[in-house]
Symmetry: C2
Subunit: 425 residues, 2 copies
């Protein structure tokens, strides 16, 4: 008995079969005595098809109109899902982001949620109906124009709505049945985590784990909204993302509380600026140029300057998708800054250990580096936070590194993980 | 220079090519110095495809949810059309029925417009933008739920919006280039009318002419909003639907002002109730039964009762689509009413002459019946209004009758009419 918000991605509702399967699951939750609010993404490839249509009409779709166009996708899926639920004898009402009171900034295509005022949703569920809400969309608080939230938007809608409704839990249905100690496609013995803290989940998401988007976890942490990540293809318990590990359970492994999981990421590249004059303000000039273009960089390493030359090298990592723009920007200031040359390397991988227990276990770094060394893997860059260690290595060594670390920290489970196909937005 | 509302049907915006062509026409209207508001239908077969999806999920789609689903169609077309206009260097903003202030009754799937409060549209055009509005949809004044207007809905949206904005004209773009003195597919020498009055257009629409829907013409008459019916495939003047024929022009033919046009209709069937007791209240009982089922009947004929038997026959016409339900209802009251038998005839055709000039020309009926007689066509039923005469004949005689009347009233033009493909909603 409680108030449950469930979110289903596009792959779960890709066709009539999927819609009916999801409807049955929603009705089962309702029948168990819960009030149910459902957030749904657009069906399957609908969003991509709509973008294709826009590109047939213009190479530069207007942001306001692109959002108007794309929000048709959730409108279709939510209406069909409500019908499928009605067909099972339960009342369901669908609501657009605007009707659900999702108020956002004006940044079309990447709007941020400012507030959620779900009075129509509260009314619907108090009258015994199941509320179906369009994910990924909201309304500009000032202009009343329709907006979309960008990547991870539907998950964020679900968590924000759950927080506003003071729900007991936000269930995120995905194509895996929880959060694993490593990507099960790389480490078949990866272990499903019973719980993971918001902090750990944030570090995992930022380090390349794709199961939940950073924004949604940030939102959950801010409002302390428990997330239950689980599969829409099974009835198993998934992973709970919560404030603290419960007493006697520390994520993957009851005895060994240090590491929650290992994430890896092949989407980054490394830029090295060779022969930078070691003067005050030079590094600032370089990184300001990049920041002004809204490019997010990740790790930064500056070598100690060679005394003889007064020159140093600066390396940093960033998404490969930003590589071309970044190197062009840097070439633009080469004369002014006076560096010797640029190197661009997109054959790197990032390997991250994440765990709240790391704080009180100083030996983690040593164990980690030792296992990589034994596996013959060279570490090129290092960065750390309180509960994370990340290293950069060659991309071809990455999966070997994930496996080595997984074993070194005793994370291996008995059986093999179950993986399902597809992925939503 | 003025304020022009244009409406484009689904066949005009069926694909990217169509959207670009329509965008160019809109921009040309804007460049000529006008303020432009555009009402657009869903692209091509979108509506049918969405209904198919709904039927895959449930045999009985909920009305509220079906409207939510179908309104995604206009959302897609209007956003794409706005993009196509932006691509030509003009600002365009799209608006849903709700955003455009189209307030309706609660009857999902066949809502009626109660009021239009287009403040956002006025704001957009006063700022120099072109406003694109979703046809066919509105919002329930009380519940704020999304509604659709049913058949002819986009035309009605356009006229209602034009009236609320006090536009100079409402241009309805269709697949023919105007209103003709008869269906050009039946009478190749049919003449395009320069003007037709609201009353004539209402009678033509009610008699089977498909170019404009009854509701939209009713709305135009109520607010005296001139409609210009024209083709989106050409730049020719079409037909003006107005309050009165201008001085010296009386529609089809300057010299001969009697008949505006001839409509025909193959969609009706005739029910004959044989051997009805000629008692007070019996006819009322029969037609109340039919009215209670929301079935619209058209023409009614009751024979004079045969004195010897005290029995009479009653015949009426109705849409074929209502035939099965009606005969079932009548069989249900056969015992109570005590009629002998039912006959159902779906091989009838309706032929109608329409013209405001008929009022002052008493010879029309005689000329009409004479020409049908000469063509060997038997008249089975007759009904008249002030500006219309309709007869029922065998369906196989219908087109012959249309041609005969067209010639008898000197409506033939010099050349042949131009017909374009497709049709919108």
């Amino acid at each position: 008995m409680g108030l449950i918000v469930q979110k289903y991605g596009g792959s779960s509702v890709a066709d009539a079969e999927g819609l009916k399967r999801v409807a049955a699951r929603i009705v089962a939750t309702k029948k168990a005595g819960n009030q149910v609010v459902v957030v749904v993404s657009a069906m399957g490839d609908t969003t991509d098809e709509l973008i294709d249509l826009a590109n047939q009409v213009t190479p530069f779709p207007n942001g306001r109109e692109l959002d108007m166009l794309l929000t048709a996708g959730e409108r279709i899926s939510m209406a069909l899902l409500a019908m499928a639920i009605s067909n099972l004898g339960h009342e369901a009402r669908s609501f657009t982001g605007s009707q659900a009171g999702v108020l956002t900034t004006s940044a079309h295509g990447k709007a941020r949620i400012i507030d959620v005022k779900p009075s129509r949703i509260s009314e619907a569920i108090s009258e015994g109906a199941i509320a179906i809400v369009a994910g990924f969309q909201g309304i500009n608080q000032d202009t009343k124009d329709v907006t979309t939230l960008g990547r991870g938007g539907s998950d964020t809608t679900a968590v924000a709505l759950a927080a506003a409704l003071e729900a007991d839990v936000c269930e995120i249905y995905t194509d895996v049945d929880g959060v694993y100690s490593a990507d099960p496609r790389v480490v078949p013995t990866a272990r499903k985590l019973k719980t993971v803290t918001y902090e750990e989940m944030l570090e995992l998401a930022a380090s390349g784990a794709k199961v939940l988007h950073l924004r949604c976890v940030e939102y959950a942490r801010r409002y302390d909204m428990p997330i239950h990540v689980r599969s829409s293809f099974s009835n198993q318990e998934g992973t709970w993302v919560v404030k603290d590990h419960p007493e006697g359970d520390s994520g993957a492994n009851m005895e060994q509380a240090i590491i929650a999981g290992i994430a890896h990421d092949k989407s980054e590249a490394k830029v090295t600026i060779v022969g930078v004059p070691d003067r005050t303000g030079v590094a600032a000039r370089i990184f300001q140029t990049i920041a002004d273009a809204d490019i997010n960089i990740d790790m930064i390493v500056q070598n100690v300057s060679a005394a003889a030359t007064g020159l140093t090298d600066i390396s940093f990592t960033l998404p490969k998708s930003e590589g071309a723009e970044t190197t062009a920007l840097l070439k633009g200031i080469q004369g002014e800054v006076g560096f010797a040359s640029l190197q661009y390397d997109d054959q790197i991988g990032k390997l991250s250990l994440v765990g709240a227990g790391m704080r009180s276990h100083p030996g983690v770094t040593a164990t980690f580096f030792a296992c990589l060394s034994e596996a013959g893997i060279n570490i090129e860059m290092i960065s750390t936070s309180e509960i994370r260690i990340s290293v950069i290595c060659r991309v071809e060594d990455l999966e070997k590194g994930v496996k080595a670390a997984h074993s070194a920290f005793d994370l291996d489970a008995e059986g093999e993980a179950v993986i399902y196909g597809g992925s939503g937005r």
